[in-house]
């Protein structure tokens, strides 16, 4: 069965703060309802905690770090799930139940299965 990454984009805030307890409860509920298709996932701290890494001159070169996310956007990547579903319709159905899609957007991307790419 194909797998899909559901990338959640919404407000760039600290989801651990008490005022987001309700949202976290909704995520908890989603985790239970969707347990059969969830293969992994994580919530991320704010983009203010991000460090972007580049190696200058390719492999083995100087490691260059910058403070902040790779791309500054209004809505930030705040978390993701990995789903295993029969098809895109099913993946979209689950994505629409992620709380982040109600006040932001969820990008559904098929995951490459290198096992079946050979030959």
């Amino acid at each position: 069965m194909p797998q899909y990454a559901a990338l959640i984009y919404n407000a760039d805030v600290d989801w651990t703060r008490p005022e987001f307890a309700d949202v976290m409860k909704e995520y908890g509920e989603f985790g239970q309802v969707a347990a059969a298709v969830i293969r992994g996932g994580a919530a991320l701290y704010q983009t203010g905690t991000a460090t972007t890494v580049r190696v200058q001159g390719g492999k083995g070169g100087d490691v260059l770090t910058t403070d902040g996310p790779y791309a500054e956007t209004k809505e930030a990547l705040t978390g993701f799930y990995l789903f295993e579903c029969a098809d895109l319709d099913e993946a979209v159905k689950w994505a629409a139940q992620i709380p982040g899609s109600w006040d932001g957007a969820v990008e559904v991307r098929p995951v490459i299965d290198f096992g079946s790419q050979g030959g």
């Binding site: 194909p2 899909y4 029969a86 098809d87 895109l88 319709d89 559904v108 098929p110 030959g119």
Partner: protein, 408 residues
């Protein structure tokens, strides 16, 4: 090989049968690009050999066998599946009609899947559902062939990689998904039947053909009947809608003897059937077709049953409330109740300040009320907005005719 009507009939037969063969082969192979390559090959062979050797007794069986042979060749070449397994995947005989029907519906719902952009759906409809070549799709949609080829390849990749399902939607999602399919087909039609630009007959004809196919596949669907009626009634005016200079002619001024009676007759019957099939909640396409039928049946603009037209617009506002629908309702109201009532109704429509035809409608009604200076200003307001040059030329002509080039 000769061109001409015989050739056109042959091409049509090969395309219609080819689409059925393709729909089945996609299901059997689970691979749209592979099935398309195989059927394309069979279609080319048919176009090459049938004019010389005659059309086989069972064209579909011939195409099925040829496409199957080609698919097995391609599978072997890719070495993904051993030959024997490939042979087992693709049966030799075409399936019975009810299976072909489901296969065709599945193919239609894949090509019009909401996860694909509208322009992609339109391109896929022409290529995959209508069987046009990539070059022909590009020509029809005014996109260079190379760009079109890339767009189609991207679309097929998305269908495969994102696993867009090859199935007919469940009952509970069918109304929504069917609306999406019809919107795509209607987009195809309106692209071809641009009210101001050139008519592109290929698009109009393929859209009508696809709608007829949908009607065959889903005979009881009011929205399909409505869309077909709307297309036929609109297309019945094709010959009358432009003057010798190529400018669009308003419905009021069209030479009604040039309207196609056969299309009007069929369209009117379809409206009746569509209304019978949707007694509880009228379908927007059926209602739009009913309005088109009122015009089609009127001997002249003045003799139009404006009370009926306004009533249909009232129904349309109920089921599809958009500013443009309200503007058209206001224009019909002006014919029923006079220009002052019409002008008040036009002014009550919000959200169309940047829509040239709203200002043109005001100009027309102001002119009828005798306020030529205001009419001239309203035409100028319409012309100040960005729009198609043909429409602008027509508006300038209306302005000059109504108020003189220098105004009131």
């Amino acid at each position: 090989m000769t061109d001409g009507p015989a050739r056109a009939v042959l091409v049509r037969l090969v395309r219609d049968e080819g689409r059925r063969v393709l729909a089945t082969l996609v299901r059997q192979l689970g691979d749209l690009p592979l099935a398309e390559d195989a059927v394309q090959d069979a279609v080319l062979r048919a176009l090459e050999t049938w004019p010389r050797d005659g059309v086989p007794e069972q064209p579909r069986a011939w195409l099925t066998l040829t496409a199957r042979r080609r698919a097995i060749d391609l599978l072997r070449r890719e070495a993904v599946r051993p030959g024997k397994e490939a042979l087992a995947v693709v049966p030799e005989d075409p399936p019975p009609p009810e299976i072909v029907r489901d296969d065709l519906l599945r193919l239609i719902f894949v090509c019009c899947h909401p996860a694909l952009a509208h322009e992609t759906q339109v391109a896929l409809a022409l290529r995959t559902l209508c069987g046009l070549s990539v070059a022909e799709v590009g020509q029809a949609l005014l996109v260079p062939e190379e760009t079109m080829a890339k767009r189609l390849t991207r679309a097929r990749q998305k269908i495969a990689k994102a696993a867009i399902p090859y199935r007919v939607p469940d009952d509970h999602e069918l109304p929504d998904r069917l609306r999406g399919v019809l919107a795509t087909v209607y987009l195809l039609f309106t692209e071809g039947y641009d009210p101001v630009g050139e008519v592109r007959p290929t698009l109009v004809e393929e859209a009508v053909r696809l709608t007829r196919l949908l009607r065959e596949l889903m005979p009881g669907e009011a929205s399909v009947l409505g869309l077909l009626a709307l297309e036929l009634l609109t297309d019945s005016r094709r010959e009358a809608r432009r003057d010798t200079a190529g400018l669009p002619v308003l419905l009021a001024d069209q030479d009604r003897s040039r309207w196609r009676r056969d299309l009007i007759e069929e369209g009117v019957l379809l409206v009746g059937e569509g209304l019978r099939r949707s007694p509880d909640r009228p379908d927007p396409y059926v209602v739009q077709a009913a309005i088109a039928a009122c015009h089609a049946l009127a001997p002249t603009w003045a003799d139009t049953d404006w009370a009926a037209v306004v009533s249909w617009y009232d129904v349309l506002v109920e089921v599809e409330d958009t500013p443009v629908v309200r503007l058209n309702r206001a224009a019909a109201l002006a014919e029923r109740d006079g220009p002052a009532a019409g002008l008040a109704a036009v002014d009550a429509v919000a959200g169309l300040e940047r829509y040239p035809l709203r200002h043109a409608a005001r100009a027309e009604l102001l002119g009828r009320l005798g306020d030529h200076a205001a009419a001239h200003a309203a035409y100028d307001a319409a012309l100040a907005l960005p729009q198609d040059p043909t429409q602008a030329a027509q508006l300038r002509r209306r302005r000059d005719r109504a108020t003189g080039p220098t105004g009131g």
